[in-house]
């Protein structure tokens, strides 16, 4: 009971602080704060359409959060989901462009596996650098992000551009066989189901079995783990690649189900948002699911807010940054307060 009380108190205090800060933020912008928060909630979860939009945004956020959380279980700080998402978008699209006439039964698994492999490879690079040379993974993942984003630009402006697109930098539209199936009249696609399954699978992977134990020991104390013959480097590479695979699937999901073709700006900063979600959830896969739903609602809601209330969508990024800052500040402040009072 006691172990549950502290995280709960932190969560409640953070939420209250965030609502207060959001009120202050909208007031500062000169918008009626309560009305804004009300419409944000309505636009996020109010009707079938907004729920579909929210789940469409939740999908890449969930997968990118897993991309940060999986290496996070070992104590690694990977901020590379944005780059891995773009890597997966590239490799997944490559399958479609190489063999556009494949039947769906081969095409769909093909693009998903290719995307996961692309993301995994792009996660493995900072993993191997950390494992072999002790290069800090946070900095390499952040710098690597910019490279695949630029590669997408090079491809859609260059060799992959559809000649029939009249100058618009994008590949051909994906054939039906390469479009991830979605629920009727919605943008809730297969990627969301994959994200849920992955979250549950991760949950079990990290609580049962020998792998879970090894990761836990190494995360707690690398030196002790290595004394017992465990390999830190092995797990760094495995978990970085596994996280990258999740982000890669997010990439092909956006390309196939949302955009319908590869073009620039396929991600609305999902990598960083996913990192925030993973951090808020303390890298616990089953906590990530509801938290990405809430943050997905914030992103989708502020998208609609831009249309109807003329609040630029950048407000969502500011709110995410403030939420992050509060989530970091509140536990420390609570700890200070409680040690002072006892």
């Amino acid at each position: 009971m006691k172990s549950l009380a502290a995280p709960l108190l932190t969560a409640v205090a953070t939420t209250i602080a965030f609502v207060l800060v959001a009120i202050a933020f909208f007031a500062f912008l000169g918008k009626p704060p309560f009305e804004m928060i009300g419409s944000l909630a309505t636009f996020a979860f109010g009707d079938a359409y907004s729920r579909s939009e929210t789940l469409a945004k939740t999908t890449p956020i969930l997968l990118c959060a897993l991309a940060a959380a999986i290496p996070g279980r070992l104590g690694l700080i990977s901020v590379g989901a944005e780059g891995q998402l773009h890597a997966g978008a590239i490799t997944g699209t490559a399958v479609v462009l190489a063999a556009p006439d494949l039947p769906m039964a081969i095409m769909l698994p093909g693009i998903l596996i290719a995307a996961a492999a692309g993301g995994a490879f792009y996660g493995w690079i900072p993993g191997v650098l950390r494992a072999r040379l002790d290069v800090n993974e946070t900095i390499t993942t952040l710098v690597l992000n910019y490279i695949t984003v630029l590669l997408v630009g090079a491809l859609v402006f260059g060799p992959w551009r559809d000649p029939g697109s009249q100058g618009w930098p994008a590949t051909i539209s994906f054939p039906d066989a390469a479009t991830l199936p979605a629920l009727a009249n919605s943008r809730i696609h297969l990627g969301f189901a994959i994200g849920l399954v992955l979250a549950v699978a991760c949950h079990f992977f990290f609580i049962v079995g020998r792998g879970a134990q090894q990761v836990r020991i190494l995360a707690g104390n690398r030196k002790v783990g290595e004394m017992f013959g465990l390999s830190f480097g092995f797990w760094v590479m495995v978990l970085m690649a596994a996280g990258g695979a999740a982000a890669g699937i997010a990439g092909i999901g956006e390309v196939s189900a949302i955009q319908g073709r590869l073009q620039q700006n396929i991600s609305l900063g999902y990598g960083l948002t996913g990192f925030l979600v993973a951090w808020l959830s303390r890298h616990q896969p089953l906590v990530i699911v509801p938290v990405s739903l809430l943050v997905g609602g914030l992103v989708a809601g502020s998208d609609a807010l831009q249309l109807f209330a003329k609040v630029p969508v950048a407000s969502a990024v500011i709110l995410q940054g403030l939420l992050f800052a509060l989530a970091l500040a509140v536990p420390g402040l609570l700890a200070r307060f409680s040690t002072r009072s006892t």
């Binding site: 630029l150 590669l151 800052a325 970091l328 500040a329 700890a335």
Partner: protein
């Protein structure tokens, strides 16, 4: 013929220097911060904010120096958020820096939209009728503004200050061990606050130099990871201010090479070439780690964060 080659070398030298100048300020600032045992990934956000505020003030006043000052002030102000989280709430430093970055990312694209398409008065170049005829230095000075010599001067000033003054010693002591520094009458929290603010000042200044002096425009997310690259370059420079100059020049050279080759090649190749600076940083980071695997210059209190 020889004269042409000399001119070509001069053109490349000055282009490299101009590209590196904003980064020198930022990397120098982050070096100071990290020497006291604090890592601040928020420099990306501080640089972006410095670029926006500096450009705005520079455009409004018509005075680039007012813009530099405003950008540096804005960077300092934002660094206080990092300081409050890290020193006040003892939050995770990496997380706090990313939060600062997100706030700045959203904040600048929200509030700096009117600056798109704005114009600033650039700094005058250092060339004159007297220097025009001189080989190498003539074309060099025609493109050079005061920011580059200021950046180089700052490198030597910070290097000297850190190595040879008492406050510099205090900063280094705090970076090696906050605990032992405290036992010797130094207040680590106060020193780290100063170091984070110094980093904020220099990264904000670097941002303002980028938008006012280098690109002379404002664009959303225009720093494009330069602040994050600076954090990497601090490691490459082994936390030594004097090594900040060569590593930043290397980045500048990679960027200039990419810009120069852009005109040739296939469509979309400009995107491919634009990856050069990022690849260059990764490569030197890997080589740096390869070479220095045995001995580490990392401040001991900082190492705890990386382990």
């Amino acid at each position: 013929m020889d004269g042409e080659i000399v001119t070509l070398v001069a053109v490349w030298t000055i282009a490299t220097l101009r590209s590196a100048t904003p980064l020198i300020f930022v990397t120098l600032g982050e070096t100071l911060t990290q020497r006291t045992g604090v890592i601040n990934l928020g420099v990306e956000g501080q640089m972006l904010t410095g670029a926006a505020v500096g450009f705005g003030v520079g455009a409004a006043t018509g005075n680039p120096w007012a813009g530099f000052l405003a950008g540096a002030t804005a960077g300092t102000a934002l660094s206080l958020v990092h300081a409050a989280l890290v020193l006040g709430a003892r939050a995770n430093q990496i997380g706090a820096g990313l939060a600062v970055w997100m706030i700045a990312l959203g904040g600048t694209s929200y509030f700096a939209r009117p600056l798109v398409g704005g114009q600033v008065t650039p700094l005058p170049n250092l060339g004159s009728d007297l220097t025009d005829g001189i080989p190498f230095f003539g074309p060099l000075l025609d493109q050079m503004t005061l920011t580059a010599p200021l950046a180089i001067g700052a490198v030597f000033l910070v290097g000297w200050w850190l190595a040879a003054t008492r406050p510099g010693l205090a900063w280094r002591a705090v970076g090696e061990s906050g605990e032992i520094a405290a036992q010797n009458g130094i207040r680590p929290v106060f020193v780290r606050l100063q170091a984070i603010m110094a980093g904020g000042f220099l990264s904000g200044l670097g941002g303002a130099v980028l938008s006012i002096d280098y690109t002379q425009t404002w664009a959303q997310e225009m720093t494009k990871g330069r602040g994050l690259i600076a954090v990497g370059l601090v490691i490459v420079a082994r936390w030594q201010p004097r090594l900040v100059l060569p590593v930043c020049l290397l980045f500048g050279f990679a960027e200039v090479a990419a810009l120069r080759f852009q005109s040739v090649g296939f469509e979309g190749s400009s995107f491919l070439l634009a990856t050069a600076p990022y690849l260059a940083v990764l490569i030197v980071l890997v080589i740096g780690h390869w070479v220095a695997r045995s001995r580490s210059a990392m401040p001991a209190d900082l190492r705890a964060l990386f382990a």
